[in-house]
Subunit: 290 residues, 2 copies
């Protein structure tokens, strides 16, 4: 199957990501269907003209129209949906998702799925601090990575379809990773940073200090306004990989603390030089990307 | 003494901050003198027209012209300068500084200073990642805090002169803090964030991950490109306050780690809710400021 314009795409869950998908795909000329629990959300989607049709719970006649289905749900809701409603899906359909953790969910879904449907897992790395359709914005894809995490069960054709979806949505960079490599990467680059921001934001005991804040504290806590329902689920699902990354960070933090405690300027400076070097390498990659 | 336009202001050290001072003060119509070690830096300052006159080592005939002197030097260099050259300073002059730590230096300088000169300590909170006159930019003061940290030895008149200097430089907000409160504040808001950024930036073992980075990792490591000479000195000088803040942060980090380890979603969520609440309070203060 190719992602031609005659394909009908069903989005399940019009949250901040699902609704941005709907918006981008409608704009590109696709027929976008949607299922989302809240009637109010559907109303907003209709008024914004980002869906062709929408309903608030799964119905066979509606679901079976879709050639491609995107699940933009919390991991456990996604699982429940497949369990309860996969019988409604058309034979030969390709399904994908937007879940921020992979190993824990990918194999489970693929194992429980009917033989005549294919699930290609994907992670659009374009999170927002705020949740809900009101904050949905397709422009967040422009500078973002879209990562497909196929397994042995996937066909090359379906994986390419899923990559095409990322291209149509306007992502800057499309990559493939194993679910395991993805989870390690996301633990370090995204989950650890959220753990740090939350720890820092709750470490202060004195609001009055905020009066004096410069840019660095603001930068380190930008993501401290956090969707606790989603992130507690993601942290739990990626528990092992995340704990490893927290430990690596703690080792470095302890090292720096020792240097400070013993006034070891050379130790500090060596670590800072390494930091500067890594940061420049990072900037180089980041600049090339943008 | 009032900071009228006939006052001659000497800047010692045309680094990224000192040169921005020179630029802002010249623009406002003050006669700015400068002493800085590098002839190349002086040349740049002259070409940019940000100083009236400059020399590369202290001379009595030059120094004694100044009514106000700003020391924009590393803490230990500032100390040495006062020790060696304070005899050159005109009687009745007011001196101030830009040092990022206070208790460790303020009392020392005030104790060694001649009786007929007054030192009003100040900290312009407008650091840059890059050092040197080439990166000097007076616009960084516009959204920044200028903090004066007077002691019992200071006169109200000189403190007000120093606050006026902050106003002339274009700082958004001028405050007074005790040296001790300043150091606690700076340990939490600025030094701790640099410790975290450096620890995070050196915790990764795999450059290839950077390819997938989103905004959060970039934000948390913006300051990881760090002037190791200056920051290792500042960390050492504010050792005690900084260690306290690192410990507070570690307590929170350990708490989150425990919650993740035991898959305690409620624990995580409570902490995330606190984080979100604090972040909103922070944003509120930050918005009012800007």
């Amino acid at each position: 199957m190719k992602l031609t314009k005659d394909k009908k795409i069903l989005i399940v869950g019009l949250g901040v990501i699902g609704a941005a998908y709907a918006d981008a795909l409608t704009e590109k000329g696709y027929c976008v269907l949607a299922i989302t629990r809240s009637e109010e959300t559907l109303e907003i989607a209709r008024n914004r003209g980002i869906i062709y049709k929408g309903i608030n719970k799964p119905e066979k006649a509606f679901v079976e129209q879709a050639d491609v289905i995107v699940f933009a749900l919390y991991p456990h809701v996604f699982e429940e949906w497949i369990e309860n409603y996969q019988w409604m899906i058309k034979s030969g359909a390709v399904i994908t998702d937007v879940t921020g953790v992979k190993s824990c969910i990918v194999y489970k879904i693929q194992d429980m799925l009917r033989e005549d449907i294919e699930f290609v897992p994907a992670h659009p790395m374009a999170g927002r601090e705020s949740k809900g359709i009101k904050y949905a914005d397709k422009n967040v894809f422009k500078n973002a990575n879209y990562i497909v995490t196929p397994t042995d069960k996937n066909t090359e054709e379906a994986v390419e379809l899923c990559e095409d979806l990322g291209r149509v949505l306007g992502f800057l960079k499309i990559s493939r990773l194993t679910p395991e490599k993805h989870d390690y990467m996301i633990a370090f680059l995204s989950q650890l940073t959220h753990v740090i921001a939350v720890s820092l934001m709750t470490a202060g005991e004195d609001d009055s200090l905020y009066d004096y804040s410069g840019d660095s504290f603001r930068d380190l806590t930008r993501i401290a306004n956090i969707n606790d329902e989603m992130w507690s689920e993601l942290f739990t699902l990626n528990r092992e990989a995340l704990l490893k990354e927290i430990n690596k960070f703690e080792i470095q933090l302890d090292k720096m603390k020792q240097y400070i405690d013993t006034a070891d300027k050379n130790g500090m400076r060596d670590m800072m030089k390494q930091s500067t070097k890594n940061k420049l390498a990072f900037d180089e990659k980041y600049r090339k990307k943008s």
